[in-house]
């Protein structure tokens, strides 16, 4: 276990426990204010927990009980580098000196640090910018320099706080690919609310809501079989939770959801918690109850209509459907319209938990 993390901060309603194996990248997903940045601050040493501990490669970085700090390694001594949403390049230093800052601060000689910096600039494709001032760089270039600067410090753990959120959509993909290459085999935690970041960068996902980890698993598990509403939304899936009944999943509202390949009791006891997910594109919208093949039908009222690629995403209280603009026009859908949402049982994935 490379990173062992457990911390509470009652003042922020924060209570998180995480473990991460060496060489793995963990994505922390969650809405704003859920506690993602708090987690990074606790690991980096800018916040101290009331209770808990952070251990990295067997070395205790902080240990506290009931507000009393028993062990504390200051931020500069942790080998934990922080990459924020803003590049925060030191404006008075050239690109090369920014990247050389870490090695230099860790006691390397001027020439040695500059050589290391040039090496990292080469690996991130920044060599032509070495002598520029940060103020003359574009947002994407600046963030690239910030990545090189963080890695040149040779951290044991790299923390990335929404590293691509401040970038234009046309430069984010290139940096995301660069990060993917650089993070491979490195222990890292990246916070994000973009599913692409999690998919491309992370091996594992932890979903944080209201200061608690509500879901934890590999990226594939969480994004294909989410258990929390947030993970489902970020994965672009409809999610219904309830209990297992004789005919399928029963929601708290009493709706019965029939699923495909539902292992008719294979390990699921009646009354056990269960989750059903299906894609918005599998959902059809009608103005009246629709009879026919084995279908699940949900009644709802249109809340929002928003463009989604070539389609229109229709949202009711708890579900989403992707329909063509033509259907929207034919059905005269506007916010407030009463609709029936229908999805084939074969399109619904039901699983325990």
């Amino acid at each position: 276990m490379t990173l062992a993390f457990a911390a509470t901060l009652p003042g922020r309603g924060y209570d998180v426990e995480l473990e991460l194996a060496a060489g793995r990248t963990l994505a922390l997903l969650g809405p704003n204010g859920a506690g993602k940045s708090t987690t990074l601050g606790l690991a980096a040493g800018t916040l101290r927990p009331r209770d808990g501990h952070v251990t990295l490669d067997g070395r205790t970085l902080v240990r506290a009980t009931a507000g009393r700090v028993r062990a504390w390694v200051p931020a500069h001594d942790r080998s934990v580098a922080l990459l924020a949403q803003d590049p925060l390049l030191f404006p008075h230093l050239s690109v090369r000196h920014n990247v050389a800052f870490g090695p230099r601060s860790q006691g390397r000689g001027r020439r040695d640090a500059a050589r290391l910096a040039d090496e990292w600039l080469g690996r991130t494709g920044l060599t032509p910018l070495a002598d520029r001032r940060p103020a003359t760089l574009s947002g994407g270039q600046a963030q690239r320099v910030a990545v090189a600067r963080a890695l040149a410090a040779r951290p044991r753990l790299l923390l990335l706080d929404e590293p691509l959120a401040a970038l234009d959509v046309d430069v984010a993909p290139a940096l995301r690919q660069t990060l993917r290459g650089l993070l491979a085999g490195r222990t890292a935690v990246v916070t994000t609310h973009d599913v692409l970041d999690a998919l491309v960068l992370a091996d594992e996902i932890a979903v944080v809501e209201h200061g608690r980890v509500v879901e934890r698993g590999t990226t594939a598990e969480v994004l294909t079989r989410p258990r929390s509403a947030f993970a489902a939304r970020i994965a672009g899936l409809n999610l219904l939770t309830g209990t297992w009944g004789p005919d399928g999943l029963v929601t708290p509202a009493g709706e019965v959801v029939h699923g495909h390949g539902t292992p008719g009791g294979a390990g699921i006891r009646a009354g056990a918690p269960a989750t059903a997910v299906f894609r918005p594109s599998a959902v059809s919208v009608y103005l009246a109850p629709h009879a026919g093949s084995p279908r699940n039908t949900f009644r709802g009222r249109v809340e929002t209509l928003e463009p989604h690629g070539d389609l229109v995403r229709v949202r009711t209280g708890h579900l989403a459907a992707d329909v063509t603009p033509r259907s929207v026009a034919d059905l005269a859908l506007t916010p407030g319209t009463e609709v029936w949402l229908s999805v084939k049982a074969a399109e619904v994935d039901v699983y325990p938990g």
Binding site: H76, D77, L82, A84, H92, G102, S105, A135, R149, L159
Partner: protein, 285 residues
């Protein structure tokens, strides 16, 4: 981001013809604004008209004037240095640390701004004077502070310190702690962060704080005359010399006053240029 930084660093580059229309400046505001400007400038002009130019050079280069000017520059420089040594850590603590009583501490640090300098001088006398709080101990150690050049520097530092602390604390708060946190996460010790990141980022604020302190020290009168006295060559700085000359030789007082104004303006002008230069190097965040 770069655009914002450029504008912030070069206010002087804003020209009248850049097309920007000032909002939020009512027309009547120009009347008090001009009156305020006149209140500052008119007395200086009035004083300049009273200068006896034929004897000006002789008056400002007289032995006592030269001695006083040299003492003033020396002591003001020394007290600016003392302000930097003491004030930078003070501003750092006030801007970055969080503890109970910080607000009270901040108000107390500003006390010399509101206390009349004469009162400050008396307070210093009761601290470092022969029978003062620390004076006796110092005397045993063979040090006599009161009525020495050291006393001049102490008095000037006492009144000038808040200027440095206030302007640097403001700059530190504006800069925020985010760059410091990044620097620390790259492995830089707190002293390295201060030297290589924090202070370069607040360089303009530090510079203007130091200049304000120097100017305040250069003009110090009340605390100096109370605590250090007026001994020629030892404690009689230029303001004291001017005050003394006013009794006997008003022409000399006016000439020396003008000299003091010229020195002050020169310091401010040099700083402004240095600041602009710093801005063009990208010294401002």
């Amino acid at each position: 981001m770069s655009g914002r930084a450029t504008v912030a660093a070069r206010p002087a580059r804003r020209r009248a013809d850049d097309g920007v229309v000032a909002a939020g400046v009512p027309r009547w505001a120009f009347v008090p604004a001009v009156l305020g400007g006149l209140l500052v400038l008119l007395p200086l002009v009035a004083m300049a008209t009273r200068v006896d130019w034929s004897s000006f050079w002789a008056l400002v280069t007289s032995g006592s004037a030269r001695t006083a000017l040299a003492l003033s520059l020396r002591t003001a420089a020394a007290s600016t240095l003392a302000c930097l040594v003491l004030g930078i850590p003070m501003a750092l603590v006030l801007a970055r640390c969080r503890f109970r009583g910080l607000g009270v501490l901040r108000s107390l640090v500003l006390l010399p701004l509101v206390v009349p300098p004469v009162v400050g001088g008396i307070a210093l006398l009761y601290t470092f004077g022969r029978r003062g709080l620390l004076g006796e101990t110092l005397e045993v150690a063979g040090l006599q502070v009161a009525f020495s050049t050291t006393a001049v520097v102490l008095a000037q530092t006492f009144v000038a310190l808040p200027f440095l602390v206030v302007s640097l604390e403001g700059a530190l708060r504006t800069a925020g702690g985010r760059y410091d946190a990044v620097a620390a996460s790259l492995g830089a010790r707190p002293t390295t962060v201060l030297r290589r990141v924090t202070l370069p980022l607040v360089w303009p604020g530090l510079l203007s704080g130091a200049v304000l302190s120097f100017a305040r020290a250069l003009g110090e009168f009340g605390a100096t005359i109370t605590f250090a006295g007026s001994l020629q060559g030892t404690t009689r700085t230029l303001p004291l010399e001017i005050y003394l000359q006013r009794e006997t030789d008003p022409d000399a007082a006016v000439a020396l006053s003008l000299l003091l104004v010229v020195v002050a303006v020169a310091v401010i002008g040099l700083t402004y240029r240095a600041r602009q230069h710093g801005g063009e190097r990208g010294g401002t965040p």
